[in-house]
Amino acid sequence: MNKLLATAVLAAMMTNPVLATEKVLHIYNWSDYIAEDTIKQFEAKTGIKVTYDVYDSNEVLEAKMLAGSSGYDVVVPTSDFLQRQIAAGVYAKLDKSKLPNLKNMDPELMKAAANYDPGNAHAVIYMWGTTGIGYNIKAVAKRLGDKAPIDSWSLIFDPANAAKLKDCGISFLDASTEMIPAAMNYLGLDPRSTKKADLEKGAALLEKIRPFVRYFHSSQYISDLANGDICVAVGWSGDVFQARDRAAEAKKGIEIGYSIPKEGALQWFDMLAIPVDSKHKDAAHAFINFMMDAKITAENTNFVWYANANKASMPMVEQEIKDDPGIFPTATVKARLWGAKVYTKRTDRIITRLWTKVKTGK
């Protein structure tokens, strides 16, 4: 029905050249992932009218992209999803002559992102982060004592610990390709392994923990951590920091911490890209270039608490954020981060099936 409506609107636009050249831009980004006035500033600067929609999972974005005619001009897939979507022919090549702010980007991080998108031909880094553990400092200490292993996956992957945290609530991301590798990493296996036996071992560990897990969700934990409805969440770094902020604002005495487990964690990049069927490619390039502006990037990082890949913005990033090892990890921690593996269709199915088994016990 929506699609029908979209087609009707599109048809109307095609027959009306005035409308088609009107300066509009449709952006589809992650929820809670931009400073409050960034869009307003962009509109004021360029006169382009922005429609801004949000999602909370790569899967939802991917389904829209694969179906085609999404109507969006700029989207923000995560690196490993980006790679598969490029293979499916979803994204347009960037016209780098329209992106002068590329000079601001950190060459080292862009090189890391090029593992997914050779030559950075289709996308630039918006933010990057890690998948680690967010926790309610007091609630965890009350149940596990001062020696709670908050710096290790054993906090939740050791059944003895998980059992003690069950009553105050543990949440996992509903993302098979992040959770199972994390469990493999804890078991000392290569988190990027695609061997069925390794994946099964990781899933078996999660199955053992499952009775202690309250829910699997990829955005709910932000407010639940902040309100004390759960006390430990496997989550994305910046989201946990947002929970920490909200908890501090609520002044109910809840303190939230984030740790990158010492065994290692997933490092991911969220990438700005333009769908190949975008109708406003010029405006889309203008927006991506705007987002790479040093000041704008700094404002976004200061607001969403995610690390950016913009070298020029660093002097304007708040000291507190720069010094936080959970956001900008130290060199030793950085060495233990791994990048997501892009799986074959067969491995994908194995992982999703294992994940369903973890979640439902069936």
Binding site: E62, A87, A88, G89, G228, R349, K362
Partner: protein, 316 residues
């Protein structure tokens, strides 16, 4: 002479066929609108889904293969992948998901019926003025977004939600009860959401109940309970069936309520469909799951209708 007579009959003939045609057109127009509606919004999507269910998942846009393929030498090759359907049988996940969806739908329908019957009965027995107010109250929640109402239940049921806050401040419990992310929450959400669909058909049935039958029953010495079970209940069976179908069928495929209120072990076919479609990017298997669900729902409904028609034919 004969020519003019011929002309006259010819003229009336044209007139007659014209009238007939207009009448015919009018009728086909009236029948045609719902027919076209069904073709455009039901049959075509169904055929598209059925088509995808026989294709193969690939990394492309759209992410499935084409059924038809031109081969050299002018062959048009039709490839149907039945493997997607066979796969549903191979893995016990799908069967248990269908089964648990039907179970959830059955018990939700039963609970909704038990709650709705007295309500519908009371409304039907009220004075006309009060009846309209009560009906209004039943319909009123529809004016708020369904999603918003489900979110409201999250606020009521969650660990630091309304119920737990009340229980704890009254000292009835010291630790909050875990109600969210449980099957209990799913049943609460479903019964709450679908209750009006049960009440309204029951009400329209019960309000037509002939009072003289009840009086006759009382005159013959039956107590109210016997009257209810011997007269009211049997006469309200069509209402019960209509209401139950309106609740049961959508609940089997329900996705939003279990996704928002349910826990990880709430296995329903809607969620499995989501996983196939989004996590596996396997549109063909997702389509096969949907087709099987449709078949599972349509066949019992058709059997039920046949049974109803047969009983109606027998009673007349």
């Amino acid at each position: 002479m004969s020519f003019s007579a011929n002309k006259a009959t010819f003229g009336t003939l044209i007139k007659r066929t014209l009238v007939k045609r207009i009448r015919f057109r009018g009728r086909s127009l009236v029948i045609g609108i719902p027919l076209w509606w069904l073709i455009v919004f039901f049959l075509i999507p169904f055929v598209v889904v059925a088509k995808i269910s026989f294709s193969e998942a690939i990394i492309a846009r759209p992410p499935y293969s084409s059924l038809l393929e031109w081969k050299e030498g002018g062959f048009l090759l039709l490839k149907l992948h039945f493997s997607n359907y066979l796969y549903l049988l191979e893995d016990s996940l799908y069967i248990s998901a269908y089964w648990s969806s039907i179970k959830v739908a059955f018990f939700s329908t039963l609970i909704a019926l038990l709650v709705a019957y007295p309500m519908a009965y009371y409304i039907a027995r009220s004075t006309e003025r009060r009846r309209n107010i009560l009906l209004m109250l039943i319909i009123l929640p529809f004016w708020t977004s369904f999603l918003l109402r489900v979110y409201a239940w999250i606020g009521i049921l969650k660990t630091h939600g309304i119920i737990n806050n009340i229980l704890m401040s009254l000292g009835i419990t010291s630790e909050p009860l875990v109600m969210m992310q449980t099957n209990f929450a799913v049943y609460v959400g479903i019964v709450y959401t679908y209750l009006p669909f049960m009440i309204l058909p029951l009400y329209t049935n019960l309000v037509k109940l002939d009072n003289s039958l009840l009086e006759a029953s009382a005159d013959l010495g039956a107590n109210p309970l016997t009257t209810f079970f011997k007269i009211t209940l049997p006469l309200s069976v069509p209402g019960i069936i209509a209401g139950s179908m309106l609740v049961f069928i959508p609940v089997v495929g329900e996705f939003v309520i279990p996704a928002l209120l349910g826990g990880p072990d709430t296995l329903m076919i809607g969620k499995v469909l989501w996983d196939e479609f989004f996590s596996n990017r396997d549109w063909p298997v997702a389509s096969a799951v949907a087709i099987v669900m449709l078949v599972l729902l349509v066949i019992p409904v058709m059997l039920l209708r046949n049974a109803q028609n047969a009983s109606r034919a027998a009673s007349t």
